[in-house]
Symmetry: C2
Subunit: 214 residues, 2 copies
Amino acid sequence: MSNTSNANAKLYGLLLAGEFAACYRLIDESAMAPTTADRVAIARLIAAEMAHFEELAVEVSAAGGDPDDAVASHTKVFDDYHRATTPSSWHEALVKMYIGDGLAADFYTELADRMPADVQGVVKSVMGSTGSSRFAVDRVRAAIAADPAVRSPLTLWGRRLLGEAITHMQWVLAEEDDVMDLLFSGDGSLATAASFFDGIAARHGERMADLGLA
Amino acid sequence: MSNTSNANAKLYGLLLAGEFAACYRLIDESAMAPTTADRVAIARLIAAEMAHFEELAVEVSAAGGDPDDAVASHTKVFDDYHRATTPSSWHEALVKMYIGDGLAADFYTELADRMPADVQGVVKSVMGSTGSSRFAVDRVRAAIAADPAVRSPLTLWGRRLLGEAITHMQWVLAEEDDVMDLLFSGDGSLATAASFFDGIAARHGERMADLGLA
């Protein structure tokens, strides 16, 4: 296996572990859904994450990796993120779905922009349908309209999600030297890493506004 | 809406509620999965159930019904079945996945055989990929090989699943007069209902043998 295909297998494996963790986060948080319609919406999100998972599992295998091993080897860092951001209410769970999906999509986009063209195609296809958690936007905006007092604590919660996500994204990247090399090859400077996370933070602000959070 | 399309909407709604319940049963039981590979397998089963759910939701709408209402109106009977058959171990969960999926598929097949041709096409397509729970067969056979003492309690468990399934299938059918009429039209005798469940019981025996259970 060449160094590049090795790095590709690791990158895909990392994304695969992320999809798997997102899927199980939804499975855990589905218990909070208050209505049948909400439970249906969550089950659809789980299915959408699994469709991404399947796409990535094919790529992991094609690049010479093993999907189960890839998931198992990254379980800890993703579990840590989800443990650090366990919602205490259904509204917090909704904000996390929208903000978390968005942050993951941005993370993938920023990665894709630094990747060889073939890898970009896969990453962009996998991210293609992450808009499915927009249902959370309607629910959160309705909750704020019904009770404006929920806005301030949910805003703090959204800010905390960004902080935890960036911290854990750095840990994820630190676990894989090959992926880091692929990402920041020929540069690897702190400035490049900073611009990587600056782009993510800027788009986070737009999503907070989508939710009606200041 | 004609009587036939009304009955179709109700039948599809019933199948939809069944898929939804199966999906949430897997979500609940996924917490028992002991390894990452098992958790991946369960997430794949959830995604497969949701694909059936989406197919049926389209049909419910096309027949003039509302998917969310259909799920909500049948939640109780499916929840009752799953509450009556809550596994107490991962092996029981595996047996339930294989036996339960099989019983549901048989229930659908028996329904389809009594349906107009257009309805049969939908039902058979939805059942097409229920074989995904065969992964349970390998796990259960391996468990019996490792410890033959698990066979006898799992055999009793499998028998109990059949009994509960048939009881609850009858309750499901009793909830929908229109579906009953569609099913046993021009007959509706007890003999027809008995042959309906005899076919299901016969195939149950084959599946118990697949699992290595007497």
